[in-house]
């Protein structure tokens, strides 16, 4: 090693040392959220690849480290800072409401009949950042059909686990827990709508909603509810968390729409995570061809 490189190395080491001292006070930015494995992930076999976009996926560590998961805290990175007590197994799901086969199921019961597929989807957050994620999962429609929803089932509602012991962010009432989301029946049955159990070829990390979550690629990210424990078929429009918190800012539909701004910021462009440059946001996040007909005749500025 030559002398100049040695000095540069020492300077860097000194800076890093000071960095850790200062980062204690949170003064110099958050620690770089490199992915932390909070619970062992297993490789998953996906039978085929369907509906995938031809874009290179977001760096996996970024996709894991940079998440909004208020159950662990309101900052990005809180899931991996405070998620170490979360146990994605054993896991149970309650299916109830307007269907013929309601019940309490183990995760194994839920997953057993479904072959897994890989789907590389765009993800657009309402905060204007975006990612491209290779999910592993199966169509929600295939799951819902098993419980034989009745003709009265107009909507499907979902709930995240409520357990402040495992999810310490729930000790603060920033949100009326549990986190709730919902879809209209036709949205839920759409072939793009996915139940994901993995990403990047392995089971879901805690940070991204282990052991199973919803993925609705044409809607803002908050619709894609994580760590689901309840699926409820309902005749009435279900209460959904962000809509309940700020109804003038977050609608029930929350379709990605560059033409309808958030009241406080523009939705016309997005910033891919890991990059410096913005790009244009596409109507329905690029899935207009597949889903625009679901909203035919609706005023999308009113039903935002």
């Amino acid at each position: 090693m030559n002398r100049r490189r040695f000095i540069a190395g020492m300077t860097a080491a000194g800076l890093t040392g000071t960095a850790s001292a200062f980062s204690f006070f949170g003064l110099f930015g958050d620690d770089e959220p490199t992915a932390v494995e909070l619970y062992p992930r297993r490789p998953l076999k996906a039978s085929r690849r369907a509906f995938s976009v031809d874009e290179s996926p977001t760096d996996e560590a970024d996709a894991i480290g940079y998440t909004n998961f208020y159950e662990f805290g309101t900052e990005k990175g809180d899931a991996q800072r405070y998620g170490e007590r979360f146990k994605p197994e054993p896991w149970r799901l309650t299916i109830d409401g307007e269907c013929e086969r309601p019940g309490d199921y183990t995760l194994e019961d839920i997953l057993k009949p479904h072959p897994l597929e890989e789907r590389i989807y765009r993800l657009r957050c309402v905060e204007t950042w975006s990612m491209v994620i290779p999910w592993v999962g199966f169509p929600l429609a295939d799951l819902l059909k098993r419980f034989a929803p009745t003709s009265r089932a107009k909507y499907v509602a979902f709930e995240t686990l409520y357990d402040p012991e495992q999810m310490p962010g729930q000790r603060r009432a920033v949100v009326e827990w549990p986190y709730r989301e919902g879809l209209r029946m036709d949205e839920a049955m759409h072939p793009l709508t996915l139940i994901a159990v993995g990403m990047y070829g392995e089971t879901l990390p805690v940070q991204n909603g282990a052991p199973l979550r919803l993925v609705v690629p044409w809607k803002y990210g908050f619709k894609s509810i994580k760590s689901i424990v309840r699926i409820h078929f309902s005749e009435k429009l279900p209460v959904t968390t962000w809509n309940q918190l700020q109804p003038d800012e977050y609608g029930f539909y929350a379709n990605v729409n560059p033409a309808v701004d958030h009241p406080r910021w523009s939705q016309a462009r997005e910033r891919p995570v890991g990059g410096w440059r913005r790009r244009d946001t596409l109507p329905f996040n690029g899935y207009a061809e597949e889903v625009a007909h679901l909203y035919h005749g609706m005023d999308l500025a009113k039903y935002f």
């Binding site: 110099f28 930015g29 770089e32 560590a61 940079y66 309101t74 990005k76 949100v175 406080r264």
Partner: protein, 197 residues
């Protein structure tokens, strides 16, 4: 002579200390250590430091009033200029990197987004304060200098509002700034009323 060099040493120490956050940003940018959303990280960190320096400069009079410390007054100009320095970094991050100098989008954002409107206004108001920070400007403006520089109170209030309106849900951090600012302004108010009587 010895006294003078001690002052210079303290001045230099504060100057270097105030540059540390900027050096830190530069280091993180060069080492790709700004995290998954580097533009957001730059934006937030320069914004945070602008508010911190604004609070610091507004704390100088209260420190004298409450604790009888008069020495910080000597560094008020420098600390104020550092607030402007970080505000400029924040402003340029937004203008050049975030908006990519797309003027249509910039004008639209200033006009349509209240949090950007107040942030932009706060920055505009800081410019004349920085421009008239020299001794010469002080002499030339005389009594009007003090009136002009009272704008800093407004700038700080707008800065905190800017932060508050930006946050999605969890307003704890901007509220901490709001409480600090309120306290600092109340100390001044109390002092000026006491003196006025």
């Amino acid at each position: 002579m010895k006294r003078l060099s001690l002052d210079r040493g303290a001045w230099l120490a504060i100057f270097v200390l105030a540059l540390v956050p900027a050096a830190w940003l530069l280091r993180d940018a060069l080492y790709s250590a700004l995290g998954p959303n580097p533009v957001e990280a730059l934006s937030h960190r320069t914004g945070d430091w602008t508010l911190r320096f604004l609070m610091l400069v507004l704390a100088i009079t209260p420190m004298r009033v409450l604790f009888g410390w008069s020495w910080p007054v000597r560094y008020r100009r420098m600390i104020g200029l550092f607030a402007f320095f970080y505000a400029t970094l924040h402003f340029l991050t937004w203008l050049v990197i975030d908006e990519g100098l797309l003027w249509d989008a910039i004008v639209e954002d200033i006009y349509k987004r209240p949090f950007i409107t107040v942030g932009f206004l706060a920055y505009l108001l800081l410019i004349p304060l920085a421009a008239t920070s020299s001794r010469m400007a002080m002499r030339r403006l005389g009594r009007r200098w003090k009136t002009l520089h009272r704008l800093v109170y407004l700038v700080a209030v707008l800065g905190v509002i800017h932060y508050l309106w930006l946050v999605k849900l969890d307003v704890r951090e901007p509220l901490i700034y709001a409480v600090i600012l309120l306290f600092l302004l109340l100390v001044r108010l109390w002092y000026s009323m006491k003196r006025g009587r």
